[in-house]
């Protein structure tokens, strides 16, 4: 817990402190965005390779390339539908006093590294 350890300076934030704070926030955000993109690319690669290149030849054929671009767009659409449906369901679940869906699902997917990745 070194990151948020003690060592206190109980005055109002100086410009330097503000800067540090926003730099850390920005860093966290970039890290998260990068992680998200990496995951998505990995999944697209995996699924679209499976789907579009069933028998790898000596070169990539034009029809394979077309399939790959369409597959990629389709996967992203799937991701968006999943995201929307998940959030909608999580919202209703919270309203009806069901379980904390976030906690419940991080249980269900085995945390940050699903086996299928």
């Amino acid at each position: 817990m070194g990151l948020f350890g003690s060592s206190s300076t109980p005055t109002a934030s100086s410009p330097e402190q503000q800067e540090i704070k926003s730099a850390v926030m920005k860093h966290l955000q970039q890290e998260a965005a990068m992680n998200n993109a990496r995951q998505l690319i990995g999944k697209v690669n995996q699924h679209c390779f499976d789907h579009c290149v069933p028998a790898p030849g000596s070169t990539m054929t034009p029809s394979e390339s077309t399939c790959l671009s369409q597959c990629m767009e389709k996967y992203i659409s799937m991701w968006n539908v999943a995201s929307k449906a998940y959030l909608a369901r999580a919202a209703t679940e919270r309203k009806t006093g069901g379980l904390d869906t976030v906690a419940m699902n991080s249980l269900a997917t085995g945390g940050p590294s699903p086996s299928s990745m």
Partner: protein, 88 residues
């Protein structure tokens, strides 16, 4: 890491704020993680025919949203049953 990220210079209030921010971000990341997992699972279930367009067709889209809902139901069912097992 660059010099500006020396968090030991922060006040307690700032540290608290950052800690809260980190918590929010990690919750967001957990949700995204779930979405990745669900999209992966539902892709396998719903995209079974040859891909001929970059968009989801009607059936695929319906399948996808059913898939998400049933996945959540499954989750709930498993947890509920687990609870009853624990009480025995």
């Amino acid at each position: 890491m660059d010099q500006t990220l020396d968090v030991s210079k922060l006040s307690d209030a700032d540290k608290k704020e950052l800690s809260q921010y980190l918590q929010n971000e990690s919750q967001k990341a957990a949700i995204q993680q779930n979405v990745h997992h669900i999209a992966d699972t539902c892709w396998k279930k719903c995209i079974t025919s040859k891909i001929s367009s970059g968009r989801l067709d009607k059936n695929e889209e319906a399948c996808a949203s059913n898939c998400v809902d049933r996945w959540m139901d499954t989750n709930l069912a498993v947890l509920k049953h687990l609870e009853t097992l624990q009480r025995q």
